[in-house]
Amino acid sequence: MSMHQLAFLILGSAVLVSALLVVTVRNIVHAALSLVLCFAGVAGLYVLLQAEFLAVAQVLVYVGAITVLILFAVMLTREITGGQLPALTSQWKWGLAGAWVFLMLLLHVALRGPWMVNTQPPLDSTVTIGMALVQRYVLPFELASVVLLVALVGAVLVAKDERR
């Protein structure tokens, strides 16, 4: 087993364990902190996949912005421990069964192979993504900025207290 595979196994198990903690722990703040670990592990996997730009974007967007947003929402709703209520809904067994069936389906497709693996050396990801975003994908790129603007204005409007 090479160092690359060892790094994959360590990062992958960290991602899976922290993801399991996110969906099982009762305290919602602990779930959010496990989510940080999970996002950081995925960023490490991006580095292993030689996608350095995406790894940095993952740290900035997910670890930085989205987690802070979630923690603020937790604070503003004061649902830190969930009181005496159980953490899971009454139909959690059906949820587990559905997720299990879907997992079997995904594993069947993923392991069926063979994938058309191309062994050419990969390009410099930052340069390639930058060129793609201003050439071939310039229209979706601009549209995404409009989507972000509309979503954030809408979020402010929805979250605003009308009584004031």
């Binding site: 969906v23 995406l54 974007a57 929402a73 949820g95 995404a144």
Partner: protein, 103 residues
């Protein structure tokens, strides 16, 4: 030696299904949003793995992953704003007990 593509696909499949389980079984609306973020991360991992192994000369998957990240950011902002609006009206965010339209 490189890590084979199928390892990444299996890891992403497990991550996605953990997210599905979280969405289907958690009571807290914020925890459901966390499950959605887990699923989006699994999809991004798949896109980047395919970009690395199948099309390493164009990297289309990484561009798609950036768009998924943008949509995830917008989704988190709107979703958490909705959670705050619900909390202001019913003083809790336990999804089993939110049935304002049902009565």
């Amino acid at each position: 030696m490189e890590t084979p593509l199928s390892w990444y696909l299996v890891l992403a499949a497990f991550l996605f299904c953990i997210g599905v389980y979280g969405v289907l079984s958690r009571r807290n609306a914020i925890a459901i949003l966390m499950g959605i973020e887990l699923m989006m991360n699994a999809v991004n991992l798949n896109l980047v793995a395919f970009a690395r192994f199948v099309t390493p000369t164009v990297l289309t998957g990484q561009v798609f992953a950036i768009f998924v990240m943008m949509i995830a950011a917008a989704e988190a902002a709107v979703g958490l704003a909705l959670v705050l609006a619900i909390y202001r009206n019913v003083r809790h965010i336990q999804v089993e007990d939110i049935h304002l339209l049902k009565s």
